[in-house]
């Protein structure tokens, strides 16, 4: 690995890297990671703006700031944006950037498919949001319970934007997930067995499998909803022999694994940061990995806990209550192992660590409120109130967002070669920590006091007004914290302290190469003998596993001879065709054929695109 570090300065056989066109045609996993990340943060700000409008409307009883109809669009789009356009793609950004670096590979298995996933995500996100301009955004909740979604109760095409937009986004995520599964299973450096893989990559693998199994379920539901609305096939219409509950089962059979799709990347990030900043290996690596796997498996067996109040009968409710409570066990294992990782360590409390600690402190709250409404009788008092809103935001904001922020502060130096400002970072952390608790903490109370979710107005006599004001104040603090974060990013990109290869004294392979990494990542593909190869290389006296006597030396390679995949414009053409088909279907299903033709032509060009370096340009 030392030789890998030394070889970084040399330019490989790399395609040109300048200009907008180079970004449009890029198939480099690191650049696609950046595209995912920047796009996701833009959508995160959009979703945040929607949340702010919601909070401003609710700051006052009987408020008239926002109309009932627009309010429904806001809370629907806030959830859809945060889930599908912010947190999931932020996870994808980390997967893209880090998986090849952590497993010692030069790119993902299918670089053009990777670019296709990104462009389809971008176009799908734009398609979903153009609904605001064309007659109104989806307004039946992100869960879109039938039969409110029928053409009778949701006339207009808002719900068609919902089905078609999510179908497009689903294809994008599915393609990305398959790509990551193949990459992780096939492209690890020699010697990196599955049980030597960094925990982040492990969680990426688990999440990718979750996506591969969960997204088709959503797709089935969306196609049924589409056929109901377009062709009168009454899958969810009780009056015509269908069943509205079928939608709920389908949606949550996707929707609960989706929760783990949103949280496991953050858990993976924290599992990397805590050891680095404690200067100790992860406590109970095997347990943490298998707890993640167990959570994923169990995640498919708990969906009906979202439906405790729909009347499933006592036996089903008792069974799903039990399966839900069981999930608390592997989750607890992770938390205890994380704390044990810090125990006896030497904790460096810089920004990535602060956000990781924030993750832990807040996720514990979300976990405990989760156990409360895992009890169905209790859930009949909590379900569809702000108590659940509090719970889910402690998991998804306190958990996912804090974890992802920790990851941004941790890997920004690797990505850009510069550190994010520490002073700004600490300020950002405290603003976000305080703002988060002020926004979502009182929601526990206001939920206990009976405030339902998704109401655009309430009367003064409800007793909810003061707590709602506090929540809105918290939301404004969160908005400020995001401004501090963005300022930090922009300042640091220009003037940040030069990071060097290994600014945190970290433990995994990505820190063994230069910051930012060369196009080909590793001039010398490392040979791996332990879970923490870079740490063991730096501190052989503290290594857990020593290299075997018959260790194979890494094969040195001239960086100039490394061939990286050529840029390609076919991915964006195929993605554009697919998204266009979905968009045109909103006008008339037949028009979708135009997009279909573009997609087919794109696929044709893609398949016959020359792969060799000499055909390029």
């Amino acid at each position: 690995m030392a030789s890998a570090v030394g070889a970084n300065g040399a330019a490989g056989h790399a395609p040109s890297v300048d200009g907008v066109w180079s970004w449009v045609t890029t198939v480099d996993h690191k650049r696609i990671g950046v595209l995912y990340g920047v796009t996701a943060i833009l959508f995160f700000m959009l979703g945040g703006a929607e949340a702010l409008l919601i909070r401003l409307q609710l700051a006052q009883a009987d408020n008239n700031l926002i109309s009932a109809g627009f309010f429904s669009q806001l809370f629907t789009m806030h959830a859809l944006t945060m889930v599908f356009l912010a947190i999931m793609p932020l996870g994808a950004a980390f997967f893209n950037f880090l998986i090849p670096l952590q497993i010692g590979a030069r790119d993902v298995a299918f670089p053009r498919l990777n670019a296709f996933s990104y462009w389809l995500f971008l176009f799908g996100g734009i398609l979903l949001n153009t609904s605001f301009i064309f007659g109104g955004a989806p307004d039946a909740g992100w869960f879109a319970y039938a039969n409110l979604t029928s053409t009778t109760y949701s006339p207009g095409n808002a719900m068609d934007f919902f089905t078609l937009g999510l179908l497009v986004l689903g294809v994008s995520s599915l393609a990305a997930a398959l790509n990551f599964v193949v990459t992780i299973l096939n492209m690890r450096a020699p010697g990196m067995t599955l049980m030597r893989m960094p925990v982040f990559t492990w969680m990426a693998l688990v999440v990718s499998f979750l996506l591969v199994f969960a997204l088709p379920i959503l797709t089935v539901g969306l196609v049924e909803l589409l056929f109901w609305r377009f062709f009168d096939m009454p899958f969810f219409s009780a009056a015509e022999g269908g069943d509205p509950l079928l939608w709920q089962h389908i949606f949550w059979l996707f929707g609960h694994p989706e929760v783990y799709i949103l949280i496991l990347p953050a858990m993976g990030i924290v599992s990397e940061i805590l050891p680095t900043f404690s200067r100790k290996p992860l406590f109970g690596y095997t347990a943490v990995v298998f707890a993640g796997v167990a959570i994923a498996f169990l995640g498919f067996a708990v969906w009906a806990h979202h439906m405790f109040t729909v009347g499933l009968g006592p036996v089903a409710v008792a069974a799903f209550s039990a399966s839900t409570m069981i999930i608390a066990v592997p989750t607890g294992i992770k938390i205890f192992n994380w704390i044990a990782t810090m125990w006896g360590g030497s904790l460096d409390l810089r920004t990535p660590m602060l956000f990781s600690l924030g993750f832990l402190a807040l996720f514990i709250v979300g976990g405990l409120s989760g156990v409360m409404h895992a009890s169905p009788p209790v859930d009949t008092q909590h379900s569809d109130t702000y108590f659940v809103v509090a719970h889910l935001h402690y998991v998804l904001f306190g958990g996912s967002i804090f974890g992802l922020m920790a990851g941004i502060y941790y890997w920004f130096p690797k990505l850009t070669g510069r550190m994010l400002g520490e002073g700004f970072g600490v300020f950002h952390f405290w603003l976000m920590f305080i703002g988060m608790n002020l926004t979502f903490g009182p929601m526990h109370i206001v939920g206990i006091l009976g405030m339902p979710r998704r109401i655009y107005t309430y009367s003064e006599s409800s007793g909810w007004e003061n707590l709602n004001r506090l929540e809105t104040l918290g939301a404004l603090i969160l908005a400020v914290s995001i401004i501090v974060f963005l300022t930090n990013v922009i300042r640091s990109l220009r003037n940040g302290e030069i990071a060097g290869d290994d600014p945190w004294d970290a433990r995994t392979l990505e820190w063994s190469i230069s910051s930012p990494p060369p196009v080909y990542n590793f001039a010398v593909i490392p040979v791996v003998y332990s879970k923490e190869p870079f740490w063991d290389h730096k501190y052989p006296e503290f290594a857990h596993e020593e290299p075997p006597k018959n260790a194979v030396a890494p094969v040195a390679e001239d960086p100039a001879s490394i061939h990286m995949p050529n840029p390609s414009y076919w991915p964006i053409i195929v993605a554009f065709g697919a998204a266009l088909a979905a968009g045109l279907a909103l006008i008339d299903p037949w028009y979708a054929a135009i997009g279909g033709v573009i997609t087919l032509l794109g696929v044709y060009g893609w398949v016959f695109e020359p792969a060799g370096p000499e055909e390029h340009h």
């Binding site: 409110l148 509205p244 006592p314 192992n337 904790l347 209790v378 008092q381 409800s462």
Partner: protein, 347 residues
């Protein structure tokens, strides 16, 4: 980062306060009419007892785990004198311990949970069964003896009360927090719910499943009456409305001429038998209007009849009734005043 140790305990204390505050806040049902922490029925008490059991376990776990986290952060924070920490990779005994202890805690939570699930499931056979039908966005209420009313549900205090729940359109969810947990209402199904009141009085509820843009305006009142008051109230529903006089008489006519009778029923009027909108018998004695969103005052009723869309966006009266869709038939101020007088005379 030396100041971390100063701030962190405060933040943790803040978190604790946030978790424990509901105990104080929820004590007062007078200020918080929808509180779940002031149960006034057998079912609501069973649920609350179970919740308190889980709540205090959660508080204990919260304190233990967050304290361990905080202790680790303070105790093991990096000092200039730190050497390389011991590279501990795990400890099987400890890991098994913190797997088994949470599992046992969860078993302790699961057992009373299951007992409560079955305890509150079946409607007792002697329950007084009331039919509820959810509409966008109001509640239709039918008594076993045939009386029909809307949004203000009276029940006798001396009996177990049962509900059969159905919907006329989309999903709704029926909930009066102080009396029972919520039950969703799914098209094509008949759901049930029950409770035995422990106190007379007025309890507030609300639809808690998103059911379209006026979901927030689908509220209800449940009045637990003494047996005598309940008997008098149902008798009132059965008897014909008193003869209208003066302005109310003009309202009586307007109620027919303006087409109100197409959708609304008023007991004792042969011309007013519509069932699309709420039954308005005894409307004058109701506490609220527009599905329990506004006090039933002359001012509010005038505003409602003048522009119902403004008060309850999307409602079908504003959308379909000729007086709101056809400019030629629009209600005049005098029409509204007469209708208000008439409707308030229905006592």
């Amino acid at each position: 980062m030396a100041n971390l140790t100063n701030i962190c305990p405060k933040a943790l204390l803040g978190l604790l306060v946030i978790v424990l505050l509901p105990i104080l806040a929820a004590c007062s049902a007078a200020d918080n009419p929808m509180t779940t922490w002031s149960p006034k029925s057998d079912v609501a008490n069973s649920i609350q007892d179970l919740y308190m059991f889980i709540f205090w376990i959660a508080v204990a776990v919260f304190i233990i785990v967050e304290s361990a986290l905080l202790y680790a952060v303070i105790k093991f924070r990096r000092r200039p004198t730190d050497g390389m920490p011991r590279q501990v990779h795990g400890n099987t005994v400890m890991e098994i311990t913190w797997t088994i202890i949470p599992a046992l805690i969860l078993v302790a939570i699961a057992i009373p949970t299951w007992m409560t699930i079955f305890e509150i499931d079946d409607v007792p056979e002697d329950a007084y069964m009331i039919s509820i039908i959810g509409h966008q966005w109001w509640w239709e209420v039918t008594y076993p003896t045939g009386e029909v009313t809307a949004n203000e549900i009276h029940v006798p205090s001396n009996r177990t009360i049962g509900f059969t729940l159905e919907t006329a359109d989309v999903l709704h969810s029926f909930w009066v927090p102080q009396l029972f947990g919520k039950q969703d209402i799914v098209p094509g199904r008949i759901h049930t719910l029950w409770f035995t009141p422990e106190e007379e009085g007025l309890f507030l509820g609300q639809c808690v499943e998103f059911c379209g843009i006026s979901h927030a305006n689908m509220r209800l009142e449940l009045v637990v009456d003494s047996p005598a008051a309940f008997a008098a109230w149902t008798a009132g529903l059965n008897s014909p409305a008193p003869a209208a006089s003066g302005l109310a008489a003009a309202g009586y006519d307007a109620f027919a001429n303006k087409g109100c009778v197409v959708c609304h029923t008023i007991s004792g009027r042969n011309d007013a038998v519509g069932v699309i909108g709420p039954n308005l018998s005894l409307f004058g004695s109701r506490l609220t209007l527009a599905s329990a969103t506004l006090p039933n005052t002359v001012e509010n009723l005038t505003a409602w009849l003048t522009d119902p869309e403004d008060i309850k966006p999307g409602n079908i009266m504003a959308k379909n009734a000729a007086v709101y869709t056809d400019p030629d038939l629009e209600l005049t101020g005098a029409d509204v005043a007469a209708l208000v007088a008439y409707l308030h005379s229905l006592k």
